[in-house]
Symmetry: C2
Subunit: 564 residues, 2 copies
Amino acid sequence: MSVSKELPALDAHLSKFSYVGGYQPSKLDTTVLASGHVPSSPPSSLPHLRRWAKHMVSFSSSECSAFPSLSAEYKVDEQLSDILQNSLKMDKEIGNDNATQNKKSKGEGGKGKPGKFVLKTPKGTRDYGPAEMAVRRNVFHAIESVFHMHGAVEIETPVFELKEVLTGKYGEDSKLIYDLEDQGGEILSMRYDLTVPFARYVAMNKITNIKRYHIARVYRRDNPAMTRGRYREFYQCDFDIAGQYDAMIPDAECVQLVHQVLSKLDLGDFTIKVNHRKILDGVFGACGVPAEKFRPICSAVDKLDKSPWEDVRKEMVIEKGLDGEVADLIGEYVQQSGGEELIEKLKNDDRLKDSPVSQAGLADLKLLFDYCKDLGVDTYLVFDMGLARGLDYYTGVIYEAVLSAGQTSNEEGTVGSVAGGGRYDGLVGMFDPKKKTVPCVGVSFGIERLFAIQERKQRDEFGKIRATQTEVFVAAACKGMVQERLKLLGLLHGAGIKAESSYKNNPKLLSQLQYAEDNGIPLVALIGESEVQEGIVKLRNTSTRQEETIMREDLISAVKERLK
Amino acid sequence: MSVSKELPALDAHLSKFSYVGGYQPSKLDTTVLASGHVPSSPPSSLPHLRRWAKHMVSFSSSECSAFPSLSAEYKVDEQLSDILQNSLKMDKEIGNDNATQNKKSKGEGGKGKPGKFVLKTPKGTRDYGPAEMAVRRNVFHAIESVFHMHGAVEIETPVFELKEVLTGKYGEDSKLIYDLEDQGGEILSMRYDLTVPFARYVAMNKITNIKRYHIARVYRRDNPAMTRGRYREFYQCDFDIAGQYDAMIPDAECVQLVHQVLSKLDLGDFTIKVNHRKILDGVFGACGVPAEKFRPICSAVDKLDKSPWEDVRKEMVIEKGLDGEVADLIGEYVQQSGGEELIEKLKNDDRLKDSPVSQAGLADLKLLFDYCKDLGVDTYLVFDMGLARGLDYYTGVIYEAVLSAGQTSNEEGTVGSVAGGGRYDGLVGMFDPKKKTVPCVGVSFGIERLFAIQERKQRDEFGKIRATQTEVFVAAACKGMVQERLKLLGLLHGAGIKAESSYKNNPKLLSQLQYAEDNGIPLVALIGESEVQEGIVKLRNTSTRQEETIMREDLISAVKERLK
């Protein structure tokens, strides 16, 4: 096969389409990939082929096997079809499909252009329908009401930032940032989280203190695991306090806020684990970890919530080259958890009592426990020495809330965190020309997980979720009532009552009543010719199916009475 | 100068930076541009230079003159500096600046890398601060409450779509679509409006009827006119009814909804102009406009709200090649406006009485007026034959709401539209493989303009906008009260009262009272050592400055009483 001739043609095709078969992956892609004629890393002179090849290997074999064969409607470009048939070893099925399509395409008059693409949202994204949005709205309102309880303000930043703003903030994960095409102008990237734009906002506006929340979507070109609820576009919900303040007062407020939000959402028992980066660093130092290994060892400890100590130890010793005895020593500390008594014990610990950094962390934590007790939110507080939090930028107290088992267990039975955060005093300084920083502490709610939990809860409780709030359905008992129905609608709306009616001139009575039942609308205002003449309305209770006759002038008060 | 040698170096520099001076436009760019050494359209072998040159001409001369000189902190890349100095005629100021910076850069140890970029948001975007967000939140709530009044559901779609979804929907404006970089995978674009994603959603999910709203930001690479409130990232607020229904019932609901929203926002008098595409087409046909000129002539008529008839006529005759007499005939129609009497007059108009398309449009409009009267929202309704609406996809009734003069007049004294929409029966069919369509009618609110009007209104009324909702500020009269303040906060929050306190251990009393005044917090709960001992709290009214002594156990009820 003359690769030099055919691959450029395929490259040209892929400059116009996402996949060989158009805008959706199909068996055509896997066949071409499996043919062995496309190099696994095509030369940069074939950028589109290169993009495609790189993208294709990101699919797991189970994803690939789920790709559809091309639908009969798809017409392969004539030239491409030739390429595929002549140059690539196609499996029989695809080859035949193709030939048929090609014939069909010719039959319809020559040069077929690529046909319809299958309608879909971009990989890793989805639409949210009415029932899901109703749940989201309720969760947002519950959380926002707690934010407002604390006098927090709201800000909104653009969905994209200058690429430079995001550069150097996410380490290895930078490769997951979505970039915008250079269309003339600035180089832009989609925001990856809400914390970096917040730090940019604080630095740019030279803000010295602010308590803000921000609920918005962020973007990560991760391999989506949509069945497990992980998407490339998802909401974050952040609350942060920036300002130079006295120790632990804002930190305690964040813990209080987590306590309040989880209580408000009525999710059952939960645990708020707290730790302090200084305690961890003190332990590492006292156990003999070299300074340059603090962060790697910290990120190994971070895995303790998912892996047993033996695995974490292995990572420390084998992957990260830590001395086995040092690892064992660390193990003695990070597997401990408790309350204030643990703080006292560690204060007098032989290895830690002379470590100023540990002692500073322990003093902070003691204060945090005291303040949480004053605020009445110490019930679920646990000092967990194995809590490390992945992000590099934390500098002080860190915390994470997990629901008690059974509440969040997903298909795999694991229990996940629903909120987390901590103190990060250095981030704003990264944006200031003079490195002047503003200390920050904040919390981010795992709001997508909270949505999922609430959705399941509501379905369990009510069978289905009501997406609308309509209170009265205006129905007609006979034909020719459109204008009378509209008059009644105008009357009800005028009094602030949520009311709907059919868009048909002469809807059937039964289908109107059925609509009210299906949509959980509590009342039906029913009129016919005689009701109009007599100036009355029949008010029907959807759940009891009882009807009452009401004078038209009393309708509003009667409806309001029944809606109470 | 050896262009062949220097321009590629500049191209390489611009592959890393948005501008010659880094990530923000500066006088360096204008100087380089004015030097005459960069061709206005650089060859495609220099794509970054080409991008830069194309972008630079998008700035107006007033924008260019507002560019900053490079700040002293900026260090020009050594190699670039040589290019600039040796090859381009720099004006003295920049040349000197550069030389200094270059020296400084060298002085600091050799190869200077480009220094700090100036912090900013992307061109045409902005952050929204606390006061602005508070206004937005109020406007959203007001509008959403009207949507819920109509039993509308909410949906959310991804911020980007497959590029193909947007292709062919926006005509010439397609060039304003933001594309994402091809990073392997699908070809994506940022949404340009909410209507096309809605049509995609309806087609993809094979929905036969839905009444939905969607409030979200959209993206247009337009030349931003930020002083006039036009941005590249801005909110849209859409309400649409999809479904095969009887004539004018959903259409009248849209007009009713506009009436209700504008009334609810208390914007004074307004006019809702209505027209019908079939009436316009009928008039064009009857006046002798060739069929292929219907849409261009329609878009000329669309300018009647901003330009006098003479200018519109000129566009028709000179630009669009219409016969002058035909234009004059059209002018007689499109300059008329009125109420139902105008409908009657046109029904019997000599030219229109035999035009079935006009008569169909007039019958629709008569029904719309009847229904609006039934709904009680005909007060501000005007049949305006000059209303055309720009978009090609409208097929029936169209409408637009404008505030009465004085309400929205911007700096230039023009009055703009605050809502608009109409019937578009063909759009969903564009996404269906069998072209099966779902008729739609909808309205889009000019929500950014509504924000601006509300913001000005609130500033005028209250002097400033309150961004928080805090009801009680917990203050200490003496030192050492942190824990007592936290206990009080816990008590108030537990009762659902919005309360804040200082983050300092020992804040000054005066500054605490001042904070409450500055932030419009109505009550201050004040404690000192004696209050704690006696189990009392002093409750201070921020505006009257009167203090009352309250027993601690009565605090909650006393606060609630005073907040009523």
